[in-house]
């Protein structure tokens, strides 16, 4: 087992997209962690006399139109991105995977019901369901998490069902049934472990989508509300000074782009590493 782990590590470091994606993702995580204990300035401290300062030793990335330190806002914004992404993808993974596993195990009308339900949920893009939820419950970070989470449920439900059905068709499942195991045990002990890697890869990629969706919602004013830090809201506020201080849009834009890129590369790399057969086919 340990030589298996060792060879995995060697392959992982040699895999370009995994290494680059992993580094970018690590940077994102690090930014969020650091912001919990330290930011150069308090991220929500207004300092109107020092507004729109260019980068300097005191404010590395300058200040925005209300005199807030951009670097501090960026660091704290990473926190929001990760929080929204993790919870929203968590909702999607838990509910979606459960639904998909149920559909694959029970077949028949239960499968139909689960899949039609997921079609229904899939029909509403994250933005649209967020607009709906905001209209109903008012804008805010919780509603954007719920909206993005709901959007993720069918993604995982469909993936899980397709993958689980393939495992159910394999002979070792028939052998497990012949050994007297019921559907629940087979699902937990045979089906889920065999599709876990696919779910992990998808979760990584959905995490990127969730960060993007959170930024979009906040940009539209439907997500995170001030004074909570958010990259999307920073972009929104930056458009008023786009010509005077384009860096105010460039920094959060870069943060979003690099995070999404990093997570996507990490997901691709993970897929190649966890399923070498797929890698060869590509």
């Amino acid at each position: 087992m340990s030589d298996l782990a060792l060879s995995f590590r060697r392959r992982a470091l040699g895999h370009a997209s995994f290494a680059v994606g992993g580094a970018l993702t690590l940077l994102l995580l690090l930014a969020a962690l650091v912001s919990l204990v330290w930011t150069p300035w308090p991220f929500d401290e207004l300092d109107i006399p020092h507004k729109l300062l260019p980068p300097s030793a005191a404010h590395w990335f300058g200040t925005d139109s209300l005199g807030r330190d951009v670097l501090s806002e960026l660091l704290a914004g990473a926190r929001t991105s990760i929080l929204v992404g993790a919870i929203a993808v968590g909702i999607g993974v838990v509910l979606g995977t459960a639904l998909g596993l149920l559909a694959a195990a029970r077949r028949g009308s239960i499968e139909e019901l689960a899949m039609r339900f997921s079609d229904f949920a899939f029909a509403f893009p994250a933005i649209l369901s967020a607009v709906m939820l905001s209209a109903l419950l008012g804008p805010g970070i919780v509603n954007s998490i719920v909206a993005i989470g709901i959007f993720n449920v069918p993604v995982f439900a469909r993936l899980t069902r397709a993958q689980a059905k393939a495992v159910w068709a394999r002979e070792f499942v028939l052998a497990a049934r012949a050994a007297g195991k019921g559907g629940f045990r087979i699902t937990l002990e045979h089906v889920l472990p065999n599709i876990l890697s696919v779910i992990v890869v998808q979760a990584t990629i959905q995490f990127a989508t969730a960060i993007l969706a959170e930024a979009a919602l906040s940009y539209l004013g439907l997500g995170t509300q001030p004074p909570q830090p958010s990259w999307g809201r920073m972009l929104n506020e930056a458009q008023l000074q786009l010509l005077q201080a384009p860096r105010l849009a460039i920094f959060p834009g870069l943060a979003i782009a690099l995070s999404v890129l990093g997570l996507n590369l990490l997901g691709d790399g993970l897929r190649d590493l966890l399923d070498p057969r797929l890698a060869r086919k590509r």
């Binding site: 002979e171 070792f172 052998a175 012949a178 050994a179 007297g180 195991k181 019921g182 002990e189 472990p193």
Partner: protein
């Protein structure tokens, strides 16, 4: 009372062209400790018969007739009741040892599974029992190999693991569906011998399914020949093989490759090909390929005709086949 009594078993499968009968009216019985062979070519319905016994037919399949195991009717039995029988009283060994094991669990854990499930053994006790089982089926160095993953074992070793899994709860009946087809000939012999010994030792009944008459001849006392979903001939293995009565059985024996047949001699074959399930005629399923077929063969399913003591063939042309004077 026989251990297993199957009467008029009918299995219909859902296919793209509608329901197709895979097993049509099969009846047989199996005594405690008896070794019964079921021989037939691919698509003859032998695997479906085996799966029907365990209630593991594919989705959408229809099952009719009666399967009594120790007097208990299995047809229509609740899934939870079937789960209790499977792996405990009835074990099954599958054809492909390469795919019958979960690649993510150690083989020791997989062998221990039925013991934890049906006997409620604790993990250490189940592991100990699993090692003993692996040793019993002839896996060398069982203690160490119990911690191996399936990909670390050879095909023969894996098949021993599969057999150990099926034997874990000391079932009364073991169904072995082509257990050695994927293995080479020497391994085949070792594994079949081991299965026969285990059946002797524990009084376990064995239903051995194979397309190989040689395997059936050496390992069973009674045999059934299946064609097109029907049992066309049955009887004591020695008597049946000595005096194959049904034209299909005769063809099957004739089509065996023989050592020393010489170069250039083509292998004898049965003309035509096995019928599609949906197209099996209402009369004798073999009529379309049989050189002795007459109109009456196609009219109705032939009744069982006695050939010898306990030896029966479903053929109305036994005299023409040279069986009866």
């Amino acid at each position: 009372m026989a251990l297993l009594e199957v009467e008029n078993l009918e299995v219909r499968l859902k296919t793209v062209r509608g329901m197709a009968a895979a097993v049509r009216g099969a009846s047989f019985a199996l005594e405690r400790g008896e070794r019964l062979g079921l021989v037939g070519e691919s698509g003859s319905g032998k695997s479906m018969t085996a799966l029907a016994l365990l209630g593991l037919l594919p989705e959408g399949a229809e099952l009719a007739g009666s399967i009594r195991f120790e007097g208990q009717e299995l047809v229509g039995l609740a899934e939870s009741e079937l789960c209790r029988l499977r792996g405990d009283r009835i074990g099954m060994v599958f054809q492909e040892p390469m795919t019958a094991l979960n690649p993510l669990h150690t083989v020791g854990r997989q062998v221990a599974e039925p013991l934890r499930l049906h006997r409620g053994l604790s993990n250490p006790a189940a592991h100990e029992a699993a090692v003993a089982l692996l040793d019993r089926v002839g896996l060398p160095d069982a203690e160490r190999r119990a911690h191996a993953y399936p990909h670390q074992l050879s095909g023969g070793q894996r098949q021993r693991v599969v057999i150990a899994m099926a034997l874990a709860c000391a079932p009364d009946l073991l169904i072995a569906d082509e257990p050695t087809t994927a293995l080479d000939v020497t391994l085949q012999r070792q594994i079949l011998d081991r299965l026969a010994e285990l059946s002797e030792e524990s009084g376990m009944a064995l239903l051995l399914i194979s397309h190989d008459l040689g395997v059936i001849a050496e390992n069973t006392r009674r045999m059934l020949v299946m064609y097109g979903g029907s049992i066309v001939e049955s009887g004591p293995t020695a008597a049946v093989l000595q005096r194959l009565a049904h034209p299909y059985s005769q063809g099957l024996l004739g089509a065996r490759p023989r050592l020393g047949a010489g170069r250039g001699n083509r292998l004898a074959t049965i003309p035509g090909s096995a019928p599609e399930l949906a197209e099996i005629p209402s009369g004798c399923p073999f009529a379309e390929r049989c050189r002795l077929a007459i109109d009456a063969c196609r009219a109705a399913p032939p009744p069982p005709e006695p050939v010898g003591p306990g030896h029966v063939a479903r053929c109305i042309r036994l005299d023409a086949a040279g069986v009866r004077p």
